[in-house]
Amino acid sequence: MSRVYTIVKGHVKAWLRSKSTIFWTLAFPILLIVLFGAIFGTGNTRFDLYVQNQDLTANAPTPASQGYVAALNYTGAFNIQTVPAEMSNPVSYVRDDAQLHNRGQRLVVIPIGFQNNLTSSKPASIQLYIDQSDQASSSLSGVITAVTASYAASLSSSTVSLSVQQVPIVTHNTRYIDFFIPGVIGMTLLTSGVFGAVNTNGRYRELKIIKKLATTPLSKIEWILGMVGYQMFLAALSIAVILLFGRFVFGVTATIDIYAIGLVVAAALLFPGIGMVLANFVKDADGAEAAANAITFPMMFLAGTFWPTETMPTVLKVIANYLPLTYINNGLRDAMIYLEPAQALTNTIIALGLAGFFIMLGSVLMSWKEE
C-alpha cells in the first residue's frame, strides 16, 4: 500500500503546484456557480404562483373566477403564471415548467362551478397545491387565505362560503442554485476524472514515466489504485469547496449521505476509467486530450448539469439516458438536495455498475508493458 500512497502523494503534490489544474478543479466550478447564480438568480420577494382557472364560460373565465385571480394579483405578493385550463394534470405541468423557468412550485386551481356556487350561495372552494416542505408554505397559504376571505366578503353576500383547500404536492421546491450545485459537482468529477486519467496515462506514457514504473516492482493494479486514490482526494476537496461556497454564498443546504458518498466513489472510478479507455485508443497524448474534450463537453451539457434534462427535446433526452454523468448528476441531486433515497439508490447502483465496467475495461486495455 505504501506504493499506492506514494503515487497519490506524488500526484497531489504535483497538482498543488499547477495553477491551471487548481483553477479547473476548484476556481472554475466556483466561477460557474457565481455566474449562473447571478444570471438566474436565487428567487425574488414575490411568491411564484401558478393559477389554473377551470371555471370557464364560452371559453372565457367567468367574472367571479377572473375577479378572484385579480384579487390575488392585486396583493402584489405573487408572481402569477397561468396554467392553461385544458391541462388535465396541472401539477405535472407546474413541476416541469417551474423547473424550466426556475420558479417555485405552487398551484392554485379554481374549479369548474366556482361562479355558480358563489352565485347560488353554495359553498365554494379553491384548491391550493403546495409542498409542506416549501419554506414559504405558511406565509403563502396565509396570504391566500386572507385574499380568499376578503374576496368572499367583497361579494357582500353573507351566505357565501369560500374556503382554501390545501392539497399537499411533492415538489422539489428548489431554486436554480440548489439544482445547479450538484451539477457542478458532477461536472467537476467528470472533467478532473477524465482529463486526469488521460493526462497520467497519455502524457506520462509519452514522458516514459509509465515505462520507467513498469521496470520497478510496482504492479499495474497498484498504479490504477494510486490514480483512483488521487481522484478521490480531488473529488473530496472540490466537493468540500463547492458545498461550502454554496452554503455560505447562496445558502444551499446539501446533505451528505451514504448515497452521495457512493456516487462520489462511483464517479472517482467511472470517469478515470473512461479516461483510461480513451488514452488507450488514442495513444498520442494531445489526441487523447482532444478526444476527452469531445466527450466531456457534450456530456456536460446533455446530462443535466446546467438545466434539467426534462426540458430538453425528446431526442436529447434519449441521449441523456445513455450518458454516465446523467446518473451521477441525478443521483447527487436526489441524495443531496431532494432527499429522495429511493431514487438516489437507483442512480447510485447504476453509477457504480457503470464505474465497475469502465474501470475494469480501462484497466484491461491499459498496456503496462510494451506491445
Binding site: G10, A14, T216, K369, E370
Partner: protein
C-alpha cells in the same frame, strides 16, 4: 543472452542475438536507430516478451513470470527519452521512484553522485536537458541495482552535458556497477565501454573491446595533412598508398606499417612541413563503416 529474437508480424526486430556481460563492466550496445537496441534492452528489462531464444538477467530467466519480479527488484533502468514528474523536485522524484522498491538508497547520496546538490529542491521542469538526464540516472540507481540499463542516455544533449553524463557513468564504473549502455554514438561507446557489441538490422555484427574491434575492422591509421591543397600531392613520396584530397584541401594518406617515418622524412624539406599534420587512429565509426558500408549520423540515422 542466447539466440534472442523478437518479431512483429513479418518484421524481425531482433534476430538471433547472443552475448554476455561480466560483473562490473560497462557494456555498450552500439548501433544506428532502428537496429534493435531498445527492443533487446526492453526484453532484458521484462518490458517485452521475446519471440524466441533465452535471456538470463542476474541468474533469472526473463521468460518466466515468477523470475520477472526478482529481476525488477535488482535492475535499474533509465528509459530512452525519460522524463521525471515535472512538478516534483529532484529530491521528490528520487523519493517517488525509490518508494516503488522495498529498499532505496538515500536520496541525498544519489544527488551527490550525480552532482545535483544545488538543484536538489528545484522542480524537474526547470532543469536543462543534461540535468534532467542526471536526475534520470539517479532514479535508475535508487534501488542500488546490481545491473543498470541506460538506454541512449546522452541522445539530444549538447557536448558538455554529454560529458557530464559520461562522468557520472565513469563514477558508476568505479563503484563496480555493471552497466548496460545502448547508444548510437561511436565515441561514447569507445570512451566508456569495456566491451562493445555492434548491432545492425537486428543482428550483432561484431563484439569485443573497442580496441579489438578497431584493430580487427577499423582499417589503417591515416596521416592527415591539413590545408595542403592539390599542389601538396606532388610533394608526397612515391610508393605509398593512394592519398585522398578531402575537405577542400586536406590530404588523407592510409598508413601501412613503417610508412609514417618515410613520409615525414620525405616531406620534411617541402612546404608541407609547415602544415598541420596529425595521425588519425581509426574509430568505431570506421569499424561500422567498414563492416556495413554506411556511417551513423549524429542523430543516429544511417547514411
Amino acid at each position: 543472452m542466447d539466440n534472442l529474437s523478437k518479431k512483429y508480424g513479418d518484421t524481425v526486430a531482433v534476430n538471433g542475438v547472443s552475448f554476455g556481460l561480466s560483473k562490473g563492466e560497462v557494456f555498450a550496445f552500439l548501433g544506428p536507430n532502428g537496429a534493435g537496441k531498445t527492443t533487446t534492452v526492453e526484453i532484458l528489462e521484462c518490458l517485452r516478451a521475446p519471440s524466441g531464444g533465452q535471456a538470463i538477467v542476474l541468474d533469472y530467466d526473463v521468460g518466466k513470470r515468477s523470475d520477472q519480479s526478482e529481476i525488477r527488484k535488482r535492475i535499474g533502468v533509465l528509459p530512452q527519452d525519460f522524463n521525471a514528474i515535472d512538478r516534483l523536485t529532484v529530491r521528490e522524484n528520487i523519493d517517488y521512484f525509490g518508494a516503488m522498491y522495498d529498499h532505496q538508497l538515500d536520496a541525498d547520496q544519489l544527488i551527490e553522485l550525480v552532482d545535483l546538490k544545488d538543484k536538489r529542491d528545484d522542480q524537474f521542469k526547470t532543469l536543462s536537458g543534461g540535468l534532467k538526464q542526471r536526475v534520470g540516472l539517479a532514479v535508475a540507481l535508487v534501488n542500488d541495482p546490481a545491473l543498470v540499463f541506460l538506454d541512449e542516455p546522452t541522445t539530444g544533449l549538447d557536448p558538455r552535458a554529454r560529458r557530464d553524463v559520461w562522468y557520472v557513468i565513469e563514477r558508476l564504473k568505479k563503484q563496480g556497477k555493471t552497466v548496460f549502455l545502448t547508444t548510437h554514438y561511436m565515441d561514447e561507446a569507445e570512451y566508456l565501454a569495456d566491451t562493445v557489441s555492434i548491432i545492425d538490422h537486428g543482428q550483432i555484427i561484431a563484439s569485443g573491446t573497442p580496441n579489438e574491434l578497431i584493430d580487427a575492422h577499423g582499417g589503417k591509421k591515416t596521416l592527415v595533412i591539413r590545408e595542403a591543397g592539390e599542389d601538396g600531392l606532388k610533394f608526397l613520396p612515391s610508393g605509398i598508398s593512394k592519398p585522398q584530397l578531402k575537405n577542400e584541401g586536406d590530404i588523407y594518406i592510409p598508413l601501412n606499417n613503417g610508412e609514417l617515418t618515410n613520409i615525414l622524412i620525405a616531406i620534411g624539406q617541402t612546404p608541407l612541413a609547415n602544415r598541420e599534420i596529425e595521425v588519425r587512429r581509426p574509430t568505431l565509426d570506421d569499424v561500422f563503416l567498414n563492416m556495413t558500408g554506411r556511417r551513423v549520423s549524429e542523430e543516429g540515422e544511417v547514411a
